[in-house]
Amino acid sequence: MIREGNFGYHEAISLLAITILAKTFFTSPAILVGIVGTAGWYMTLISALTAMFGFMFLYLLLKRFPNKNIMEIADMVLGKLGSIIFLFLFGGFLLWSASISIREFAEVLKVYVLPQSPPSFIIILFLITIIVLSFMGLETIARFAKFIIYILGVGFILVFLLSVQNIAPRYLFPLLGYGLDKTIIHGLLRSSFYGEIVIIGVIASSLQGYKEIKRIGFSTLLIAGFLTSFSLLVFAMIFPYPVGQEITSPMYEMAALIDYGGFMQRMEPIFLFLWNFGTFIEVSLIFYATLMIFCHAFRIDDKRPVILPMITTLYSLSLIPKSISEVTSGFVQTLRSWGWIVYYVPPVIILIIALIRKKKGDSQNA
């Protein structure tokens, strides 16, 4: 049987921050420029604030039911059938989002680095790592995230520092992009970008109580919001808005543009490192959260027999999109624009039902 284990503040923040930030490496920044133009860097701050608002309800729910995770709370509040329906939908959604992340990763990797390799080959290699990490358990994934975040941080800073030579601050103008109204509307909708923060509800039992959860949640959103905004700001200063919206992986191109003469150029390998490890953590966490949800819903104590079948499902789902266009403009776009319904609304509904039905957990100090 896999033990979930316990981990602390730093591990949880590393895990969640990497999971959220990994998405900036793919096609999202370009799509964002197409929607809000030059305003993407502060639009994401609106999204982060909205995500904080959404997270607040989850926190209130977890506070009401101390030492319980979202699955246990759903059981108590929604009843057996209601809980299964909710967990099935939520777990299915997470599995679908993991499949999109994998496919997006495979497609972008194929475009830039491995053009001859079939997507299935890339995805299988990727999934082998996820399988290994899943067998190790949540605590191992979290501790690996804490270990790798320092290396990723150095790489991240290095890529941005070296990109200074290509920065033109005037590309940030016109400041309001395609209009303030569009920026605000899409800022609210795209709070889904930070939606993985709700996974904190799934792994709540491994954390040290609701006060710690509050600290972890808000700190993660602040860090992820700031770093995403910073990445988009640098990106907007390097690629003018007509060009920025066309690029498959703006961050990769940004690293490829670094050129300080014969001895300091071709810096993409640094980016590739960030990219690969960031995505490993992202998909591992989402997959493991899904695994926990399904095992809870079907009352399976030992997760190990479920890992391989679920990986197979993940693999099959990731091969559904026909092309990169379908992934980026269809699936990813839908996920970013409407994912908030699945991420933030259920905790609000559960909280309201809990209040109506006067359901409450045991006191934490009891």
Partner: protein, 424 residues
């Protein structure tokens, strides 16, 4: 048992993934270092590949071996007519034992004719999609045939062609006679609503402008660098030269700026770190005073959009050192120094204004003034509706230059020349 199985799997796994689909040996490729594109005869485009063979000299003596021995570079030129780059690459690949690889491509050369016919969007812009070609690849518009240019492109003796090209382009911001432009600049330039595109202009110098015989030159010298590549009166050295720039409106080449005009342009854009300038001696117009100048602050640009015509005001702050005084006049004294300072200021103001007028004729804001004008707009639709590039030809420019001479070289003052003829 479990640990043993895991170790065994870990040890065996690498053997299954070593020959992944994208694994290649370095020797599998033929590295294209320069590529030319021009109008084709039997198909749309004529594409020329310069393939360099990087290998150590086989005849090196013992001392050279293992100690960075002399490099022997052989070139192969392949030219073919094709409808696109990808078709050309696949056909060439079918006929050579290696596979063409563009990871070390340093320059793409477009013929002037192709650029004038507005084919950039068709032939070059799509290349950014091609994963092998980096956005940092340098772009040159060449006089005459691109094929001829590529054939004449040779490395500096003892160097690799890649290094020669890298070093050549780096000269741009210290000399300023040509801009350093890349595929990224090209793509941004043709899509931009802020500014127009400018590219490096190059040519094969056939030494036609160099006159070996004739009478000695008399009269006032022209402004140094006031010509384009291919017209430099020189002999020897590299056959290929980069000088001046090609100006575009969208994807269509509208004209050329000379080396001097390009210097003026880069100065106004704040991209010329330092550069050599020569002004006519204010007191002896047949002689020159060469000065090394340095831009100490970014140009201050103000644009008034309140009236029909945009009014642009540029302020430059420069300092410099006198490199030589041919006339021997004692310009080093504080009273006389201001004469040189004023003369240089006027020289630069006139130069920038002439260049600006020329760019207005081309309807191309290569000065990047649009990147300042855009700061007065709140939203992209407002900015695009204003249509800066359409307004640019109506704009008016006022230039202010503040130049200070800091040093006078290795001489503090000039004593008159002594000759018997003068004594008489």
């Amino acid at each position: 048992m479990r640990k043993g199985t895991l170790i065994l799997i870990s040890l065996l796994l690498p053997f299954f993934i070593t020959g992944c689909f994208d694994s290649h040996e370095i020797g599998d490729f033929a590295y294209v270092t320069a590529m030319g594109v021009e109008h084709g005869i039997s198909d749309t485009f004529r594409i020329t590949f310069q393939i360099s063979k990087f290998s150590k000299s086989s005849g090196g003596n013992g001392e050279n071996e293992g100690g960075g021995g002399e490099k022997n570079e052989e070139m192969e030129i392949i030219t073919m007519d094709s409808s696109s780059l990808l078709s050309a690459v696949s056909i060439v690949n079918a006929n050579i034992s290696k596979e063409l690889n563009f990871m070390h491509l340093k320059a793409i050369v477009i013929s002037e004719e192709l650029a004038e016919n507005g084919k950039l969007g068709e032939c070059l812009a799509p290349i950014v999609r091609y994963r092998h070609i980096r956005r940092t690849t340098n772009i040159i518009v060449c006089k005459g045939k691109a094929e001829e240019f590529i054939t004449a492109l040779m490395p500096y003796p003892g160097e690799l062609i890649t290094r020669t090209l890298e070093e050549l382009f780096e000269k741009s911001n210290t000399i300023g006679y040509f801009p350093h432009t890349t595929l990224n600049d090209l793509y941004d330039g043709i899509k931009s609503s802020y500014n127009a595109l400018i590219l490096t202009y190059g040519a094969v110098n056939k030494e036609e402008k160099f006159e070996s015989d004739g009478e000695f030159f008399k009269g006032e010298s022209d402004v140094p660098g006031n010509f384009n590549a291919g017209d430099i009166p020189r002999k020897g050295g590299s056959k290929v030269e980069l000088f001046g720039s090609a100006v575009f409106d969208g994807e269509k080449m509208k004209g050329k700026l000379t080396g001097f005009e390009t210097q003026m342009l880069l100065l106004a854009r704040g991209e010329l770190i330092r550069g050599p300038f020569s002004i006519t001696d204010p007191e002896k117009p047949e002689l020159m005073v060469p000065i090394d100048i340095k831009e100490i602050e970014n140009p201050e640009i103000m644009i008034d959009l309140n009236e029909d015509k945009p009014k642009i005001h540029v302020k430059l702050k420069l300092e410099g050192d006198i490199a030589s005084i041919q006339s021997g006049i004692n310009y080093e004294t504080p009273e006389k120094m201001t004469i040189i300072e004023d003369a240089l200021e006027q020289h630069l103001i006139k130069g920038i204004e002439i260049t600006f007028e020329k760019c207005k004729e081309f309807k191309a804001d290569v000065f990047n003034f649009g990147t300042t004008a855009v700061m007065q707009f709140w939203t992209i639709p407002e900015w695009e509706e204003y249509n800066w590039l359409g307004k640019f030809p109506e704009s008016e420019l006022k230039v202010e230059v503040d130049f200070t001479i800091r040093r006078t070289g290795k001489l503090l003052k000039n004593k008159p020349l002594f000759s018997l003829e003068d004594k008489k």
